[in-house]
Symmetry: D2
Subunit: 375 residues, 4 copies
């Protein structure tokens, strides 16, 4: 297979992360074909040119539509601000590209559905960047659950806590707009939802309680003028899964002391497991029927037997990092494209995730359970 020609839109933290993953994936994985960093688009020409040079892209443009329309581009890779995901993705679908978009795909389920429908109508191959699902210990957790190793799932607790909005003096940003993705519910809650769906399955109904603790934020750092905050800082929800399991989902960007606490506890009828991405390379596992006096949770360190870990190093316990998860994501995209399998998680999955996010918000407003099928 020939190299895929990537057009990257955006060169911030996440754009850079994608660029390094485009380079690393073909080196670390045995892939049928590589990646060409063909073009980079950014907010203006100068910025794009500098970024292209720094990140090793062949060409650059200050106009993302140029990139999308370029016949030389196979994959449009969107890491621009969230509010631009929709027009960019629609244009890329229209242009017949493979579309790879950072999460959240859209700020609400209506938009996500429109994108999903456009992509499916056009037969577009899509991928959304829920990179935490690529973690080898998450892959192992899924394998354990799917194989019945811990029996039927009876309880699930999922959460994503960070503290980067704890300071009430942190200024108002696009994250505080509804359009930016529904506050913490979309920002971090979507990760918790994606993990829950990946590990346990579809969600039938939710009952949420979201709240805004910091109701005003300065227009800019140190600015006395403030702007009201419309979105939630904290989210909590009861959830019922399609398969009968029950659980809770929580998210907060005010979780003082938590830096990257995307975590879950899965209780099965014959075992349990826990993951906390602040310890990215660990899985804790318990099973019933251990020898008397020898029962306990095992701490399993990621190693070559877990997911795609072996691509990085043959030695267990040597640890993967955040950027490695993006490398796996791109390697899996390339593999899917080479094999003809649909990439995953695609726009449909992103829509499904967003429905749960919206369901939690709506349920919080109406103070009632909401069936996801109605979103």
């Amino acid at each position: 297979m020939k190299d895929l020609r990537f057009g990257l839109i955006g060169s911030g933290f996440m754009g850079r992360c994608h660029a390094q993953a485009m380079m690393a994936a073909p080196v670390l994985f045995e892939l049928d074909g590589g990646v060409t960093r063909a073009m980079l688009a950014d907010a203006d020409e100068a910025m794009a040119e500098r970024a292209a040079a720094a990140l090793g892209f062949e060409r650059s443009t200050g106009d993302w539509t140029t990139l999308v329309d370029d016949p030389d581009i196979d994959v449009v890779d969107i890491t621009a601000p969230n509010s631009l995901h929709k027009p960019m993705a629609l244009a890329a679908i229209a242009a017949g590209k493979i579309v790879y978009c950072e999460k959240p795909l859209a700020p609400n389920a209506v938009d996500a559905k429109a994108l999903m429908e456009a992509a499916e109508a056009a037969g577009t191959k899509t991928l959304v960047g829920f990179n935490y699902l690529r973690n080898p210990v998450v892959a192992t957790a899924k394998e354990i659950i799917d194989s019945g190793e811990i029996g039927d799932v009876v309880g699930y607790r999922g959460w994503h806590f960070e503290d980067y909005m704890t300071d009430p003096a942190a200024p108002y940003t696009w994250r505080h707009d509804r359009e930016g993705g529904d506050g913490v519910v979309g920002d971090l809650g979507s990760h918790a939802v994606s993990m829950a769906r990946y590990l346990v399955g579809g969600i039938e109904a939710v009952c949420g309680d979201c709240d805004t603790v910091t109701t005003e934020r300065p227009l800019a750092a140190g600015n006395e003028a403030t702007r009201p905050v419309a979105v939630a800082d904290q989210m909590r929800a009861l959830v019922r899964f399609d398969n009968g399991a029950k659980g809770t989902l929580e998210a907060s960007w005010l979780a003082t002391g938590r830096k990257m606490n995307l975590a879950c506890e899965v209780t099965g009828s014959r075992g349990a497991l826990t993951i906390d991405l602040e310890r990215l390379n660990e899985l804790r596992l318990y099973k019933v029927n251990q020898a008397a006096g020898r029962e306990g949770f095992k701490t399993i360190l990621a190693g070559p037997d877990h997911g795609d870990y072996a691509a990085f190093t043959p030695a267990p316990g040597h640890q993967l990092g955040f950027n490695d998860l993006k490398t796996i994501e791109i390697a899996r995209l390339l593999t899917a494209l080479a094999s003809g399998e649909p990439p995953w998680p695609d726009f449909r999955e992103a829509w499904e995730i967003q429905r749960v996010v919206d369901g939690i918000s709506r349920s919080s407003e109406t103070r009632n359970w909401v069936r996801i099928g109605e979103i």
Copy 2:
């Protein structure tokens, strides 16, 4: 002050725990007066006599009403099966005793209220055995929260998970009756509620989701005949506190791998703390405004600066155990009685806890938020 004469009803695991605490409290604490193990009542004379000998009680009886009516008894200490708490406590109130009852005081809020009202009408001093609240690290958590050390509480997660009902072949017991205390909601959920109320304050409303995973249990071990289970195995609830904090409360006796996981995470605007009684002697604490690059949760080991730890040993890190918490409970009861302060948590607090428990169950049935004031 003269020694208080205790009459203990029940000599099972918990009765024995009370007996050792009656002996230890006067030795370890500097108290104004001691404890006399005056009489022990159990299901029949022979059993009571044996238990009195083993536990060092002066007299015994197979009829608890004899104990309650004995003029020589100051404190009636009830560790009998839950279904007997109500008649015993009412009789003890009527007899003018100090009444010390194991939790749960009653299987529902109606009964708890009746007991509370009877006690208050009679001016009875009461104590209910929520011994986990006596843990020095819990006392320290309360001190940290009350002093504003972690700012305003914005989020609370409390849970009590054990796995002793995980096996579906475990037989039907009184715990599976509504009368036994509403399943896991009353059994373990009440601990989670008591901790939440102690640390954060009153609960205004709840929205619960309780479910019964194991819907039939054998009549006895190995028995093929089964009996339907009416009570919940798992409980999850959204909660709103009177002070505006929001959170979740959960309980399960099917939490595979968890042995004594009564835990909470308290997020404040300026810090956070966590407790997990599977590590009974640890408190984790985070505060904002730590030096750059030096931010982290501290693991604080219990020591003589925490609660009543110093009564047990002057050396930090040497650890208290489960029975020590009961010793603190009794020492605090004696101190309160000596000083004339009302003991705490009393029947009123037990009723308040039970209202939340009932609110969660009712809310789960109606699938709606329930205001605790209406219970």
Copy 3:
């Protein structure tokens, strides 16, 4: 069997700990006979009288020889300052008592040997208070090692770190005298040695490196006058066990941040285990030949399947504390006496431990390996 009549010498922290254990043991364990708190001796009559009242002893004396010579006393229980252990134990042996002495039995191996020989010549039953060996997780570790569950022991790391001498302004005490027990080597190192001997077996040779970091200490708190410190603050040693295993032993009372870090790591050819008494109720266990991708250390919480845990509570994970270990020690003493088995660890074992302690010190002075058989 009739109750044993205990005479307790000393009523400080450790005396109080013994007293509560004398009460708790007969209540919590099913013993063939109980304990009578018959007499308490302390530094003067008034002090002894107060302590006897507080701790529930029948009689008191300001002269320990009175206690030792009293025909009504069965067990002489020595918790007096270390420097008095020798004369008290010798007198008790001479008086035909059972002798129960806190550790360290003696400040050096010569004295320990003299005591051991006197006791053995007289046929005295003896016990020395190495209470950490009574921890249920230590008992389980021994069971795991002895059964071959982790194969042959190939490596051992044992240490006891605390930080109570970290402050150089902490005044000179008897602990800083050679006579007080050889500094940290005897004080904390002896615990590390006792654990190593208990779990792995006899020690053939050592090579130690001890040093005194704080070479002067104030005569009293706040005092400008100082006194040179003759004993070690830190100890490190290479060790070779009789069975061929090799390891290290370390101790420090300057281990900033460590409160009760008596710990070990035992590596076997087919598994490994670790203990750290700052987490008194946990054992970590690894075994070879776990399923691929499921290898990890298990964290086992103490429960009724471990050692004497079940005497305290039938519920796993509910935790024992420091004082409970002393209760087990006394229960085991009573059981041994009732059955006619020799109590353990006895004066001989205390001497063996002290030989290793002395060997480490001597080896550090000579900067050479020392064979324990030559001490």
Copy 4:
């Protein structure tokens, strides 16, 4: 500055790790100049050609001397088997290249010294791949120690435990030869030594105890014929640092259950810190004079305030992995070369590390303390 042209020798696990780091470093770091993957040498032409294609090198060769002599190559990067490090490095020095060599530089201090002297005589810039020193938490530990934040170092415990040789059926390899680097002493012990020297400083004397547990290994997997093993499986040593601190160093490749347990505990007079690379992104820190009742070890998660973490992601807690450490190593090499500063750790440091390794082995043979100055 122009791009540096790298010639990579070896394309195994470590060669691939270097290749990805050569790509990632210029993208993630703001460097004055980049890396050209100019030539790859491997054992034969076909292998080299395949590897060059996979790893993105312009040219390839089956003869490493061709690479070393190629005028187009700036940096000779040696990841070939250990036994070839010496001839390759000498040739590269002779050819006037910058020499970047994986650890261990040489199997013993004599060879390491010869290499160091050759490099220094030629004015060669050298770097040895002790990549664990590049970990942001290790950098932070060094900063904490050097600044006096934890006072004077009084005690140090360093170790590197893995279990990849636990199985006695694992066949004989070059690692079991003296020439391969002195068994575990050079293989893992050198990491422990490099960390100790980096954090605390020079080592004055050692007293080691090394042993070979598995004395025979099969010639190949499943082979009945065996070969005697000449090198140590386990190493333990007492160490004295030049600055007066004392400690222990240990290494084992039989440490059942340990996968990447390169760890240290540094005790200072005013604090302590611990690192364990099985939790690559964590540092535990304790300081004296914390508020009463609030003393504890902090768990600090790596973030942008630590070392070179910020180059990878601006978000704390998101974690770096093993390969990222190599990327930092190469970024630091490029920075040093651009600035004219000597790269570090250079051949001199590698020799110093090897002297300690040799000192431990010699001391174990003679069963005596050895002064490193005499090696």
